[in-house]
Structure formats: structure tokens, C-alpha cells
Symmetry: C2
Subunit: 175 residues, 2 copies
DNA sequence: CATAATTAGTTTCCAATGAAACTATGTCAA
DNA sequence: TTGACATAGTTTCATTGGAAACTAATTATG
């Protein structure tokens, strides 16, 4: 339960000089904070790199927005879905899903029909055209993924994924 | 130079059923694409988690925006800088830096003086108030980082950082 | 049943961001 | 010099995305 003490001891030791307890202003910082070695900063740079590498594909080829691609991807890989299911599966918020669905529908890529079991809802499926786009795009996206990851070994990719997932397991502080 | 063949062989094999070569439309996909196991998707989820964990701190405490925090962080840890240097160090674009500087200046946290050696430019430093904010915020940000990373061991943190950095080393395709 | 509380999805509004155009200054070459 | 081009920073504009309010339909409760 106490993993990696050393790490943050090191980090905090850098900050120690400028720690201030609530009211008490103390000391000048030991020139200590370095954005470049700050984990969230590194994550942001990393993220931008990854996203940019793959978003080019659907942007250039179909002028799609990220959320449209994600929505299409979910509809293509599964059975008919409701917007709510897409929210669930994509971690996009419902407002954005609504917009993506509207746009994809305008383009004729998805079909919207009523949901018999709940009139508030809708059932979405890919149209023929939508499937064609999906089939064209998926392998290209996977290629882009492969290209992106090609500097890493298999083992490294697995490890990276594992560590990213592990980070989520932080329980929200009970207090 | 050919690292981790197995990984993408696996990935591509899933797509194989629906690969289409330029003009030729082929096959139905093997129900194959799963957004949740798509690396860029995982990265986005990961990123949101990380950013959210730390941005709370400066948002709640000083109602600062991400780019304002980053700008402050750079000014605080170093010597006087020009906006261009901040762009360089923060990987924020110059438009955003300009805005962050304007806002921080309005709040009285940074001082702007002319740059003797180039009248187009400016020299920025933290004011007394700005330093106080910096000194208050830095240890809290580091704490948030520690908190965030506390589910990982030292070794895991190092490895994660290493892998994220390694991914950048992709050379932009020559052709 | 009737009505209160929820839920699905949309619309409206606003904050954040980046691209392109713009202003002012600096640099280089004839 | 003087003009052509480059550079620092700002402004304008369009796009994106999320929060909150809204509508319509459903479920729960008395």
C-alpha cells in the first residue's frame, strides 16, 4: 500500500525549501520547480503527440471531428445503439454525442429510428455509406496506431498500457 | 529497428478481414474494432484523468486557467523571460501565452517591462504577489502529483515516464 | 390514477483554443 | 540608406467542447 516512497521523497525534497504551511509564508524556493519534469506536463505533451498522429487520418480523409470518428467507430463495431450507450462506451459526454450523431446523420452515414421501448430515446445504426466509411477508416486508423507505436517493443507497449490503466485505480479520496 | 513485430501483427490480424487496398472494397469487418483497446483512446482517458487531478488545485485556489498556471510556473522557477522563451519552455502556442501573460499581468502577478535589446519583445518577471502565489502553489501541485502517482511504485513511475518520452522519438516520415 | 421525481436527448450559452491576419520592429543585402 | 523579408507579440475569427437549462417521456409513490 505504500509504493515507491523514494520517488516522492525526492520530488518533495526539491520543494521543501518553499513549503508553506497554511498561513506562514516561508523561504524562497530553491529554484526548484521544473515544468518539464512534472508528470502532468509530460502527459500533456505525450497526449498531444498521440492524438495528432491518428486524428490526421479521419480529418484528412473525411473531414471528421474526433467525436464523430469515435461515434462511428462504436456504431460500426457493434449492434444498433442508443446515444446513451455511445456515451457509456466512448467516454464522450452526451452533448457531444448528440452533436456527433446529428452531423453523421446529416451526412447520411447513420440511420436514426425510434426506440420502441422508450420514446425518449433513439436507435442508431450505420447506413450503407456509413459502413463504407467505417471499413475504409478502421484499417487506416489501426495502421496509424501501429506506426505510432512502432518505436516501442511489444513488451513496452503492453507495459505502457498497463501503467496507464493502473493509474486510474486511484480511489477518490473518501473525505 | 524492427521492434515488437508481434504486437501489430496481432492488431492487424484483427483488421485483416476488412483491409481494403486503395480502390478495392473488400469484405465485411470481423466485428473487429474495439475502441476501448485502441491506444489513442486509452491515452485520451488517461490524459483526462491526470489533468483533472492536478488542475483542480490551481482552479479551486486561484481560479487560474491551465496556461496561466504553466506560465507562472515557468516564470517562478527561472529568471526573467520573454514570451518567446515561455513558448519554448511550455509547449504552449504564442497566442495562448500572450493571453496568459495579459491575464496574469492584470492580476498583478507579473511585471512587464520593455526589452532593451529588442523593442518588439518584453521582459517578464513575477511580482511579489506573483511569487507568493507561486510559492503557495508549487508544493500543492507537487503534492497532487505525488497523490496521483501513489498507486505506482517508483520503478513504475520511471518506466511510465520513459515510455511516454520514447514515443516522441518517432521521426516524421521522410516522404 | 395523479403527480412528483428521473431520465434521454437537445438547445443555448459561454469559455477555451488555435489559425490566420495584422502591427511594429528588426535584419539582411544591394 | 532603402527596400524585402523575417520575427515578436496581439487581435480577430472560427471551431470545439462542456455546463446548465430545457423538453418530452418514463418511473415511482401516495
Amino acid at each position: 500500500m505504500q509504493p515507491g516512497k523514494g520517488y516522492w521523497e525526492k520530488i518533495l525534497s526539491e520543494a521543501r525549501g518553499c513549503l508553506m504551511v497554511e498561513g506562514k509564508t516561508q523561504k524562497i524556493p530553491p529554484q526548484g520547480f521544473d515544468l518539464k519534469s512534472f508528470f502532468p506536463y509530460q502527459t500533456r505533451v505525450f497526449y498531444k503527440h498521440v492524438i495528432q498522429a491518428v486524428s490526421r487520418v479521419y480529418e484528412a480523409r473525411y473531414d471528421m471531428k474526433p467525436n464523430e470518428w469515435r461515434t462511428l467507430a462504436i456504431l460500426g463495431s457493434g449492434n444498433p445503439s442508443t446515444p446513451a450507450e455511445i456515451v457509456e462506451l466512448s467516454s464522450i459526454d452526451k452533448v457531444s454525442v448528440s452533436r456527433a450523431v446529428t452531423n453523421l446523420s446529416k451526412r447520411g452515414w447513420i440511420l436514426v429510428r425510434a426506440n420502441r421501448s422508450d420514446a425518449r430515446s433513439k436507435v442508431l445504426t450505420l447506413s450503407k455509406a456509413g459502413k463504407a466509411v467505417y471499413h475504409d477508416l478502421v484499417p487506416r486508423m489501426l495502421e496509424a496506431e501501429v506506426e505510432l507505436l512502432s518505436v516501442l517493443t511489444d513488451a513496452e507497449v503492453s507495459e505502457l498500457k498497463r501503467l496507464m490503466e493502473k493509474l486510474h485505480s486511484v480511489a477518490d479520496k473518501p473525505a
